[in-house]
Symmetry: C2
Subunit: 357 residues, 2 copies
């Protein structure tokens, strides 16, 4: 088992990474301060891991709420299911919420924890690669609004994160690839050495090799933690983490949330950012080829949906949170492993990229 400490002053916490750690009472119990626990999970994950998690919670009063599975349920109705379960089971301000599932469960459980009785304790047990490498660090929680993705939320740090690599063996292949998109992202924006390792060990990752997955999760979380420690509330460099996401969110919104997986949209989005960087003279065609080959090797799309026009992209990008006063800031690459945040580019390079998408 590996341990990564996320350093955020008095809100610091550890991430435990390894196989079969889900039911380890010694890892969980020290981080639960009261007697009450509410596990938030979904109908897909519950049959697989709920009993195992509960077996590590002996001596606590454990309740559970099982949400429907899918990004389309990441909304106020699901949050209300959590609130209602907490209130009807009389959970008080000393309760601890545990998110067991992927990013959607983690975001919703975290937001419920941030807002139930003005904030209660929270533990993450992510069961997808995407949530293990992404939601484990950063404290972002929230839900979608009919008028925009992730528009409602709060920053709320967990007490501890348990990333059990064994849970990835039951993950559909498409979701494993979607998680690898974020792993690739960390290499691309700031860690060329890690990127080379990902290129070499992609077959192991796709085959769910436990040691390879553990390293991928550790190095992804390490990179993210370093950025988040510099910029907890996302006022500066944290935006680097959005490489591929501004294009990607537009793809997800246009296709309807849940049809393209988040990681798939990020894969195509990172390719668009790479191509735009080439247009600006910041990447060579060899470097573009390397990125393209890596994204393809992860079984991810390297272009946006065929039915999505330039106008569609512009429409769906205009509501993006990352626009400051309606100007679209993008994360681009000035070389492999060196991302920058910029709104200083010719509009033609931007629009040509959308046509290509």
């Amino acid at each position: 088992m590996q341990t990564l400490n996320v350093d955020l002053g008095d809100r610091s916490y550890p991430i435990f990474i390894g196989a079969n750690i889900l039911s380890n009472q010694q890892l969980l119990a020290p981080y639960i301060k009261g007697k009450q626990v509410m596990i938030v999970t979904n109908e897909t994950v519950a049959p697989l891991y709920l009993e195992a998690l509960k077996s590590g919670l002996k001596g606590f009063k454990v309740d559970e709420v099982i949400l429907p599975d899918g990004e389309q349920y990441k909304n106020a109705d699901s949050i209300d299911m959590i609130y209602s379960a907490l209130l009807s089971k009389r959970h008080n301000r000393t309760t601890t919420l545990i998110a067991l599932g992927g990013g959607v469960v983690g975001d919703m459980c975290g937001f419920a924890a941030a807002t139930y009785q003005r904030g209660v304790e929270f533990i993450q047990v992510p069961t997808t690669l995407l949530s293990q490498v992404d939601s484990s660090v950063g404290g972002k929680t929230g839900i979608n609004h009919p008028l925009g993705k992730n528009m409602i939320g709060a920053f709320h740090q967990p007490n501890v994160v348990l990333a059990d690599t064994e849970t990835l063996t039951t993950l559909p292949e498409r979701e494993l690839s979607a998680g690898i998109a974020e792993v690739i992202k960390y290499g691309l924006i700031r860690d060329p050495e890690f990127l080379s390792w990902i290129e070499a060990d992609m077959p192991k990752l796709l085959a769910c090799d436990q040691a390879a997955l553990s390293k991928a999760i550790y190095d992804s979380c390490r990179n993210k933690a370093e950025i988040v420690a510099l910029d907890e509330k996302e006022s500066g460099c944290r935006a680097l983490l959005n490489l591929g996401h501004t294009f990607g969110h537009a793809i997800e919104a246009h296709q309807g949330y849940g049809n393209w997986l988040h990681g798939e949209a990020v894969g195509a989005g990172m390719m668009m950012a790479t191509l735009m960087s080439e247009k600006l003279g910041w990447l060579s065609s060899e470097e573009v080829g390397r990125v393209s080959q890596l994204i393809e090797s992860a079984k991810l799309p390297v272009a946006g949906p065929a039915d999505m026009s330039k106008e569609d992209f512009i429409h769906f990008m205009s509501l993006d949170k990352k626009n400051l006063d309606h100007r679209i800031r993008l994360v681009l690459l000035k070389g492999i492993g060196n991302a920058v945040i910029t709104s200083d580019y010719p509009m033609s390079a931007f629009e040509d990229t959308l046509v290509a998408g």
Copy 2:
């Protein structure tokens, strides 16, 4: 004009208190960091003060959302009206929300600010005495849930508070009295000198004397700020502020939110806490008479509703946030101006008080 600084480290802010300060651009503008402003108010307050407030916001892009008036609208639907207004008017993360109205508007606007795009800037312009002396300090925001009052919320500090005493001249008499209940509370829990002043100047307060109101607001906020500075997240002494509130919340819940005003329920609740303190031998009958006389002089009820039984009280108190593991902690008086938090009392004294209620 008086200025009180609320000292909360890097979240410190000033409260400006005085007559006709609502439209003073010099007091507001320095606390608005972006260009976008969303005023959140209600259908009662908007016709009275919305234009005046807007006249002090020249040069900003000002939008507004007008909510229905009443505690029964302090719910997720109203919050969604705010989110929808922000998203449809394309407010970004640099926007500032301004609450113009009483406690309900302030709580909802603050909660929307705490959760829109994971937190945006927030200014309070309270227009009721209750909100000027209570919600101005402490950063509590939130909404009711069908299963419990104020169960959903967040801590979110404003950038500045403008308490314009002139707005109290349009306040219904019943609401003025309800606000005075909280003013009396500060005297009772920790400030005997202030309490004596309230007793002497009650006629001026009821007559909306601007200087008397200004002093009452200043001293109430000063007392609350001193407590909140010691205990921002309500883990200890901040509970002293709940004198009369545990009984009061039960009254509000039993009567249906909005039928008894919050301050009216707190008035009756403070009287119940006073009577229970007498049963424990902590107050003399003379002191009880003094409290009773003061509450009556503010035109507030000194007993709970006639149709509310002991069992009703117990039922509606059991979901209270202040119960730790289902044990009812109460704020009681060990003398005038000296409140204590305790769950160490004979049950008979508690139950006898409910019968009297």
